[in-house]
Symmetry: C2
């Protein structure tokens, strides 16, 4: 029985995430791996594929979220746990927030890009240019129209 309990520890699941990270490593990608656990079962495995897919959004966590939702055939991951080898970045933290996942466990801290930087709100480089209110009314109108229709 003790073996059974041991096999479902945080360390057990993080080892599985590490196996995924190893796949990234082997492929020449920054090695980050993630798994999603539901009812003590691993329902998604993913690793960073930004280089292979030529896509900055192909982080382990995002792929894991998409994959887990696909397995569950449900958009939200309520009741699920994410194990990821590196502290999620702001993008992944945002995605995890949308996913309504219940628990997040991570390994290494990411002091530069981890979501903990949020309180400093230095998400964007200074050189970026951001403007709002461009056709704001039309944009807002369409949204309002949508929700009005939805409520009928």
């Amino acid at each position: 029985m003790s073996n059974f309990l041991t096999s479902f520890s945080h360390d057990f699941f993080m080892q599985e995430a590490l196996k995924e990270a190893q796949k990234s490593f082997d492929a020449g990608e920054i090695p980050v791996g993630a798994i999603v656990v539901h009812n003590q079962k691993i329902i998604a495995r993913a690793h960073n594929m930004t280089e292979k897919l030529n896509d900055v959004t192909a982080h382990a966590e995002l792929i894991a979220i998409t994959s887990a939702a696909n397995t569950l055939n449900f958009k939200y991951l309520t009741g699920c746990k994410l194990y990821v080898t590196l502290e999620p970045c702001v993008m992944c933290a945002g995605a995890l927030a949308w996913s309504q996942i219940s628990e997040i466990y991570y390994g290494a801290n990411d002091l530069q890009r981890g979501f903990s930087i949020l309180t400093h709100s230095n998400l964007f480089p200074k050189k970026i240019k951001i403007e709002n209110d461009i056709l704001a009314q039309e944009c807002e109108e369409l949204l309002k129209k949508f929700f009005k229709k939805l409520r009928r």
Copy 2:
């Protein structure tokens, strides 16, 4: 000549983003559209598809980033502009930061989910459980190993 200039105004491009948002609307999705512009040419068009794809990460901006990178055959969107009908959420803001996109123009504000909430750092609901330092050393080691190898 004035027509030429008019056709490449912020309003012109935001109208194109709105056409995308309309596609979401027509499909019963929250209507948000985005386009990516490079050298005054639209290189990516996308609209929110979270319901269709059963995927909380399928926001217009994320699809647009992936699509633009695919068109450019380059991971980074330096020199590109994003036009999006709604203020990007934290996930999309994080993705945009990774993409190294140069300019972002958005229409409606999103006071509840827009990236402007970052300064309040209330990204996650209170009920979420977050822990770190689980096998942190192993996770960190693999990263270190990767970068050490990379620098050789």
